[in-house]
């Protein structure tokens, strides 16, 4: 048996840091969101829930929520579509599975801020790589398209984001698929099950946990996404790229000109956290219920 003192000594440093710089600020956020202030020095004004009621009528906030939904739903459909496609293709017995897996995952080890620079060059008006390609294959009309115009920019950003995320979710879903014991499939085949039955009765149920976890991860990532759209937008980022996190940062710290509405910014963070908790709960309930139906 381990002695109590050792357990304490071994746990304390990690728990202390975790409590001080993660748990405590997370709890403090709820408290700070009830004030109006530009610095948490002297002139702190208690406003109760007024920051939240202001959020309800703030059309920029709702714009950012709309953008978040585009990323969550359209981006999610693309990411999971590609990830499942690659899982199936990589498991179809082709050569070099590990190499392809590593290459598909690779963008995830590169700083988002570095990747956005490349994508900015791709979508640059007139001189961008995309325009260049479209011109050279004779699609002059498409080449004139303003990819970074306010109404298109979120889709341009989404291309890069989907590229990175697909790599991440492919390795997760692939590892889930690889955990399905091969003899189970073989046995079913011997018993005369066809491919569709094998997919419905073995692959899908065994993948269910992985599907739930990856969906939860995607929802969390999509609701809190900051770096990629923020860096893609550059200085004076277009409002059509705002996600709740970016709006939070802009309201709390500003970009070129500081803003410092710290209470209001924190209220955005808390709202985001609640959106996350609600969607994850709904997702779990939905998928659990489906599983029972099976």
């Amino acid at each position: 048996m381990m002695r109590r003192r050792m357990i304490l000594v071994f746990l304390m440093p990690a728990l202390t840091l975790y409590l001080c710089f993660l748990v405590f600020p997370a709890i403090q956020a709820f408290y700070l969101s009830l004030f109006e202030t530009s610095g948490f020095g002297d002139n702190v004004k208690w406003v109760g829930l007024r920051n939240y009621s202001r959020l309800l009528t703030d059309h920029i906030f709702w714009l950012s929520v709309g953008n978040m939904l585009v990323i969550l739903l359209a981006g999610g459909a693309a990411v999971f579509g590609f990830a499942f496609l690659f899982t199936v293709l990589l498991n179809s017995g082709i050569w070099g599975k590990k190499l392809f897996r590593a290459m598909i995952f690779m963008p995830n080890v590169i700083a988002a801020i570095a990747i956005t620079t490349f994508w900015s060059f791709v979508f640059m008006p007139r001189y961008g790589l995309l325009t260049n390609i479209l011109k050279s294959i004779g699609l002059e009309d498409l080449a004139k398209m303003a990819w970074t115009a306010p109404e298109n920019i979120i889709w341009a950003m989404l291309v890069g984001l989907v590229w990175i995320s697909t790599g991440f979710f492919t390795i997760l879903i692939l590892s889930g698929a690889d955990k399905i014991p091969i003899d189970m499939v073989e046995a079913a085949r011997l018993e005369g099950a066809n491919n569709r039955q094998i997919f419905r009765l073995i692959t899908l149920p065994m993948m269910w946990d992985v599907l739930l976890i990856t969906l939860v991860l995607w929802v969390v990532q999509a609701i809190t996404v900051f770096e990629f759209p923020y860096a893609f937008g550059g200085p004076e980022i277009n409002q059509n790229l705002y996600t709740p996190s970016i709006y939070l940062y802009i309201m709390g710290f500003g970009q070129r000109d500081p803003i410092y509405q710290l209470g209001y910014a924190t209220a955005i963070g808390v709202t985001m956290f609640l959106m996350m908790v609600i969607s994850v709960t709904v997702l779990r309930l939905l998928l659990r219920w489906d599983q029972v139906e099976y």
């Binding site: 746990l11 405590f24 700070l32 690659f86 700083a111 988002a112 900051f226 963070g269």
Partner: protein, 287 residues
């Protein structure tokens, strides 16, 4: 898995299906390679050439771009800052997380499960929620705009994932060794230090690399916590270069030199350790 057939038409001969798989998967993978090569090539051209011949291979490399970015844009300083804060953070992270993960997986005490779940909960806290509170706390502690403050936060936010993965790793080690050592008269900490820690080395190395890469690329917390140019990390330096460029006209070649400097260390690690990194992430992500 044979469900591939539900995606590609059933009547296609096997060879075609294989060819289609290679084209799709190979094309997507090839794009990663293209990305790296294109960026490196772009960083070795003059900006004018980059615009007139974006696809060309620079046979007369313009290394001046790197000198300019490294010296005038101060990427040398930022590189050192990043190296310092990231290495020290990872070191401290391992020192505090490994013992915690060890007792959480091998110890037998009542609150073990509670503490484990409590730590896992940290993985679900959105970082942007912490922006304002952390700025306030850092100001109160006198750590605002310092690399040590940033490092402390880096350690704290990395603890949940690290402990989670290490805990899984310790649990997978055979317990016979532990009891054998105990019978031989080893004390608790000796078992940890001489028996379990050496066995856990591969797991520790995995989380060290994953955290190094993650923190090397970290941007949002540095953006919030660091103000002065001399304390910038590499990703912040990259962002400030983009920002300054939008106002002073486009030195795109210098920008891509910056991108290359940012990505070379992590890509080099990935080249040698991709298997380890991928298995570490799938361990932390799907369990």
């Amino acid at each position: 898995m044979k469900s591939r057939k539900s995606i590609l038409p059933r009547r296609w001969p096997r060879r075609w299906k294989n060819a289609a798989s290679y084209i799709i998967v190979g094309g997507w993978s090839g794009f990663s390679l293209f990305f790296v090569l294109w960026v490196v090539f772009a960083s070795l051209k003059s900006t004018r050439k980059l615009f007139s011949k974006p696809w060309s291979i620079p046979y007369d490399p313009a290394f001046g771009n790197y000198v300019k970015t490294w010296v005038s844009s101060r990427f040398g300083d930022y590189f050192l800052n990043s190296l310092l804060v990231v290495s020290l953070s990872v070191l401290v992270l391992l020192i505090v997380s490994t013992p915690a993960a060890y007792v959480l997986s091998r110890g037998k005490f009542r609150s073990r499960q509670v503490i484990s779940s409590f730590l896992v909960f940290g993985m679900g806290v959105p970082i942007p929620l912490l922006f304002v509170p952390l700025a306030v706390i850092m100001a109160k502690l006198g750590l605002a705009d310092t690399l040590s403050g940033l490092g402390l936060v880096y350690v704290a936010v990395s603890i949940p994932f690290t402990v989670f993965v290490l805990q899984g790793f310790f649990s997978s080690l055979p317990s016979e060794l532990e009891s054998a050592a105990r019978i031989d008269g080893c004390k608790d900490w000796q078992i940890f230090w001489h028996v379990m820690l050496p066995l856990a080395k591969p797991g520790i190395l995995t989380v060290a690399i994953l955290n190094f890469v993650g923190l090397w690329n970290e941007f949002q917390l540095a953006l919030v916590l660091i103000d002065s140019p001399e304390n910038r990390t590499l990703s912040l330096g990259m962002y400030s270069l983009i920002t300054s460029m939008k106002y002073s006209g486009g030195d795109w070649a210098g920008l891509f030199a910056g991108v290359t400097i940012v990505m070379i260390p992590t890509i080099a690690l990935f080249l040698f350790l991709s298997d380890r990194m991928i298995s570490g992430i799938t361990m932390g992500g799907v369990k």
